[in-house]
């Protein structure tokens, strides 16, 4: 096996220094180091290459690497900023930073918009909203009649689509969220604030050397 990296410090592509990441996200340096321990665990669960693949992401979220989920796919794609099919460490920390309680609300609002803009047209279309509602009902084993689904989608859409052009643009989304702040509730993970306290095993592990990253 070709050994490109030095024995002591072996970094995967997309690795960024904790100091840099801490300066550009709400995390402190030790929090970024704790996240690195988490990242190493997640990125080696199936393919040991220091990158989080879709299956590893699914495994972490659902304890099942084959479980497909529309929303998990969207989250994965947004974390994969470079769109190269994997989540690198830098992307991981920067994306998680948006979920930090101290992250700017505007970032959370924008991220949520992109999440729901399934086809990345820059707008949330009515069909996309309906598709997401149906996907949620489907994954929950719930069936609602077509009428009821239409009612739910229409009511929400009419509230949000203030200029009535059949799609929600980023401005309308911002206004809609300001009237309904619970819409971005899932964009904040409170325990990110004290990740080194909440997950003490990571604090212990960061004292261990990177010696056993498999070649």
């Amino acid at each position: 096996m070709g050994c490109v990296y030095s024995k002591k410090v072996r970094r995967s592509p997309g690795y960024e220094e904790p100091a840099l990441l801490a300066s550009e996200t709400p995390f402190t340096v030790s929090e970024v180091e704790a996240l690195y321990e988490l990242f190493k665990k997640l990125s080696s669960s199936i393919i040991n290459d220091g990158l989080i693949h879709k299956e590893e992401f699914q495994l972490a979220l659902f304890k099942n690497s084959n479980r497909r989920n529309l929303f998990a796919d969207r989250v994965f794609d947004l974390f994969d900023v470079k769109r190269n099919g994997v989540i690198e460490f830098g992307e991981f920390v920067r994306s998680l930073g948006i979920f930090h309680p101290n992250a700017p609300i505007a970032d959370k609002v924008a991220f949520a918009f992109k999440l729901y803009d399934l086809r990345q047209t820059g707008y949330i279309e009515r069909e996309e909203l309906k598709e997401m509602v149906l996907a949620l009902l489907n994954e929950s084993d719930l069936t609602l009649s077509e009428d009821v689904v239409e009612t739910i989608v229409n009511k929400t859409f009419n509230e949000a689509d203030s200029n009535g052009d059949g799609r929600i643009d980023p401005e309308e989304w911002k206004e809609f969220v300001s009237r309904n702040p619970s819409l971005i509730k899932n964009m904040t993970l409170p325990y990110l604030k004290d990740i080194t306290i909440a997950f003490p095993s990571f604090v212990l592990n960061s004292e261990v050397e990177d010696a056993d990253m498999a070649a």
Binding site: L61, K63, L70, Y116, S140, D141, T156, F157, S182, L183
Partner: protein, 139 residues
Amino acid sequence: MKPICLNAFDIISLSPGFDLSGLFEKPNNQKAEARFTTKNSASAIVSKLEEIAQMERFNVKKKDGLVQLQGIKLGRKGQLAIEAEIFEVTPTFHMVEVKKRAGDTLEYQNFCTKELRPSLKDMIWTWQGEQQQQLPQPL
């Protein structure tokens, strides 16, 4: 008793695909909350919860779609306190979120499995809770 209305985006955000806590949690982490859907009206749900509270000796406090059950008996970590919040999706489709407010998690889970869920059985459409799997209920 006015439940909060859920819009389409609220519903979508319930997906476990958005729940990133799985990235951080250890597999045996027990959550002290559950969710179920029901086709009954909000007032029917509240009445049923009050019935259960009375049978199991809980005090009930109600406010705006929130029903709080306060246990009288002293458990392992004090009195068990449970909260049920009712959300309306449509007038005939509600979602109820059940959470432990105080007390021992194990006692809470026992209560849910042995008392709450069986008593609510006829009302529950689907149940999403401590068990990973959702059991589809016959309609």
